[in-house]
Structures are given as C-alpha cells and as structure tokens.
C-alpha cells in the first residue's frame, strides 16, 4: 500500500514540476508541429503525395519529438541528486522509475494526441483514419517513453549523451513505427487494422512489464 503511495507521490511530484516549468510540455509539442509543417514546404504542396505519406510523416515526427523530450526524463533529477534519493528508497527502483516514465508520458506524449487531429487535417488525411491515428498514438507513444527510458538511463551520466541516445533508441523504435504507420495507412484505404492494433497492445504490455527493470539497473549504474 505504501509502495502505491510512493508511486503516486512520484507521479504527483513530476506533474507538479512540469506545471511549474511549462516549457517541458510545450517544447516537444512545438517541435512536433514544426516538423510536420516543414514537410509540405520541403516536398511542395502536392495534396496527393502529402496524403499518401501523411501517416509516415506524423509517426516519424512523433518518434523524433518523443526522442527529443527523453532527456528531461532523468536529467534534472540526476543533476540535483534527487535520483540518488529515489534509488536509495527501500521500495523497488523499477516501480518508482515506472512512475517517472508515466508522468513523463502524461507531460510529453499525451499532448501529441491532442494536436494530432489538427495535423492530420493539415496533411489531408482521410477522416476515417484519424480515429486510428489517435488510437495508435495512444498505444504507441507510451512504448516510445518506456523504451526511450532505457536509453536515457544508460546515457544520463554522460556529458554528451544526446547523439548516442538517438543511436541507442531509434532502432528499437522500428516495430512501433512500422505497425502504427501501417495501421493508419490501412485505415485510410478502409481496410481492417485489428491485427496491427493487437500487436501494438501486446508491445505496450510487454514494454510496460519489461522496460522498468533495465531502466532501473541502468540508472544505478549511471549514478555510480
């Protein structure tokens, strides 16, 4: 029971911090919108082409936005010593780390869902695929946070962890990108997407259960 209390306390603390800092919420969101705006500028305002590659654009941008926001997951806790305190708690570090990841997703992943319909309209996506797009984002972005947490835990102690982080994390994002992008594309042509959604659900469950352990282990290693 008190473990649950600690879990909630961490979520509450991180949400409170995000509210007081604000930019943490705004930055990935702005990045997401900006990158998507750049695509029509880069390839020309060709509605058919844009419509065809819209699922890919949105998902790749979401991937990059998620990756850029990762650094804030443990950075400030690492810098001010709070991370040591969390790891020294008698409660299992993996559970507390999971709380941090959930809070981080609420702050950086969930807002993407809110602007995604707008961007889908920008790119001329068919209306029937917007629902599926939201569903894939809902299932996929937590996976990005969970997997990304492992990478950022491994690199948080490094002075220049940014580049190496993308090398560690992006290849692991491939399955989410494939299944989610594919589901949105299929939905656009009116085909069933149950298989992709089910696979995304199982990937989410798998990473919820498995990812906190290596993350906690990597954090212990990083604070040494």
């Amino acid at each position: 029971m008190s473990l649950f209390y600690a879990f909630l306390a961490i979520i509450r603390r991180d949400l409170l911090l995000a509210v007081r800092r604000r930019s943490e919420i705004a930055n990935p969101l702005l990045f997401f919108i900006l990158v998507i705006t750049l695509f029509p500028l880069g390839i020309g305002a060709q509605p058919h082409l844009l419509q065809a590659i819209a699922p890919g654009i949105i998902w790749v941008s979401a991937l990059l936005a998620a990756m850029l926001s990762l650094d804030s997951l443990f950075r400030s806790d690492f810098d001010d010593g709070s991370l040591e305190q969390i790891l020294l708690s008698p409660y299992p570090a993996s559970v507390l780390v999971l709380a941090k990841i959930i809070a981080h997703w609420l702050v950086t992943g969930l807002p993407l869902l809110i602007v995604a319909p707008l961007l889908a309209v920008f790119l001329g996506m068919p209306t029937q695929s917007i629902g599926v797009l939201l569903l894939t984002l809902l299932l996929g972005t937590p996976v990005l946070s969970l997997i990304g947490a492992i990478g950022v835990a491994l690199t948080v102690g490094l002075r220049r962890g940014g580049m190496i982080l993308s090398l560690l994390v992006l290849p692991l994002y491939v399955p989410v990108l494939i299944f989610a992008g594919n589901a949105v594309e299929m939905a656009g042509s009116g085909l069933p997407v149950d298989a992709q959604i089910n696979i995304l659900i199982s990937i989410l469950c798998l990473s919820l259960v498995l990812a906190p352990w290596p993350t906690a282990a990597a954090l212990k290693m990083s604070v040494n």
Binding site: L154, I164, P175
Partner: protein
C-alpha cells in the same frame, strides 16, 4: 550449477582467471589458425570451382559463400554478446564482460559484410544496389544496434561501468531483435507484395550446400581467432597493473 559436472565448473573458473586464459590461448591459437585456413581453403575451392553454376543466376550466386555465413554470424555474435554480457552482469566475471565488448566490433564487421555483399548481389539480381528487402533491412537495423553498443562503450570512461551498460543494452536488443525482425517482414510483405524471394532458395543442391557449411564453420573459427586476439589485448590493457602482466612483459623483453 549442480547439474554441471565438477570438471566443467573448474574449467570455467580457471578460464575466467586472466593469466590462465592468456596462457591457454597461447597454446590453442596455432590450431585455430590451421583449422581456419583449411576450412576456408576447402570451402572456397568447393564453392567457387566444384559447385555448378545456378541455372537462373549463373555465377553471381556464388557470393552466398560470403554473404550467408556473414549474415548468420551477425546474429550469432549478437547472441554471444548478450549472453556473455548477462553472465558478466550476474556473476561479475570479468572475462565475460570482455567477451561481450570484444565481440561487438567483430559482429558489426560481419553485419557490414553481409550488407555489402547483399547489395553487390542485388545489382545483377534487381538492377539496383539497394532494395528495401526484409532481410537487408533487418540486417541494417542490426548494424545500428551494434553501432549503439560500440558507441555507448566508447562514451563511458570507466570501462567497468561501460561493460555493465553494454550488457544491459545488448540484453534489451536481444529481446527486441525478434520483434524488429518480425515487424520488418510484415512491413515488407505489405508494402512490396511478392517481390524478391530469390534470396531464400527452397532447396539447395548438396554440392552447393557443403561448401556453404564449410564456409559457415570457417567464419566461426575466424570469429574465435579475432575474439581471442581482442580479448588478449583488452586483458593486457585492463590488467596492466597486475603482477602477471608485468612478468609477461619482462619475459618478452629478455
């Protein structure tokens, strides 16, 4: 542990001690090199001269004697890396940590060779140097995973910490590789339809198969040789303050 015969346990304990490993590899190295040279000789002779040319692809298929064993090795070495990394994490065996990091560049090289030969093969087959074929794409992602491991190890100054880090990363990678592989297959069949399946032949003639297996074995020996050399260098570096290294250096100087 109680299932393993005592002699085996003792063997591993002795091997895990650096000086013993060093002395032991001194002795086995010539034999490994001889086996490697013989296997490669027979394999190449069988593959390039004895095996008939393919009725569809002519002689260009012969690149499989490099391409396929490299692709096998790329996965095999990743597994070795993850398993030895896990052993290092759990039992704190230094040698296992060193096996893990020493394997990474070798595995990355094999992955690169598989990609390179695959694209060479692709030119006569498909007319382009690169096709987003499922296997090549998986192989490319595997290369990124290897580069991540190597990059992470290089970025962390304290090499004991770095060994732990790459062990964790390799384990995460091992869980992901089947998922990545499966997702890429899925992606490929959906996007490309029934394109190139020339790479996996349903049946292969014995005169082609035997050289292929010989080459696969010779690549394993090459890996072993390269791995042992890397481990020896890494051991000397890490243990440069130990008594046995000093003795070794003095011995060489005389």
């Amino acid at each position: 542990m109680f299932l393993i015969p005592n002699a085996v346990v003792r063997f591993f304990h002795r091997m895990a001690s650096p000086p013993h490993f060093y002395a032991f590899t001194d002795k086995v190295m010539p034999w490994l090199i001889i086996s490697f040279v013989l296997l490669t000789g027979f394999g190449l002779y069988g593959g390039l001269y004895l095996a008939p040319s393919d009725y569809q692809q002519g002689d260009s298929y012969r690149i499989i004697y490099i391409h396929v064993p490299s692709a096998w090795m790329s996965l095999f070495i990743y597994m070795v890396m993850a398993i030895s990394g896990a052993i290092g994490l759990v039992w704190r065996i230094k040698l296992a940590e060193i096996v893990a990091i020493s394997s990474a560049p070798i595995g990355a090289s094999f992955t690169f060779i598989a990609l390179f030969t695959g694209s060479l093969w692709g030119k006569p087959m498909w007319g382009t140097w690169w096709v987003w074929d499922a296997r090549l794409t998986s192989e490319l992602i595997l290369l990124f995973l290897y580069l991540g491991v190597i990059g992470l190890y290089g970025a962390i100054d304290d090499k004991r910490v770095a060994s732990k880090a790459i062990a964790i990363l390799a384990l995460v990678g091992v869980v992901n590789i089947p998922i990545i592989h499966y997702s890429v297959e899925w992606w490929n069949t959906l996007h490309q339809g029934p394109t190139v399946t020339k790479m996996d032949k349903p049946s292969i003639h014995v005169s082609m198969l035997i050289p292929l297996l010989l080459m696969a074995l010779s690549f394993k020996f090459y890996y072993l040789i390269a791995l042992i050399q890397r481990i020896r260098i890494e051991l000397l570096q890490r243990e440069r303050n130990a008594q046995w290294v000093k003795a070794k250096v003095l011995e060489l100087r005389l």
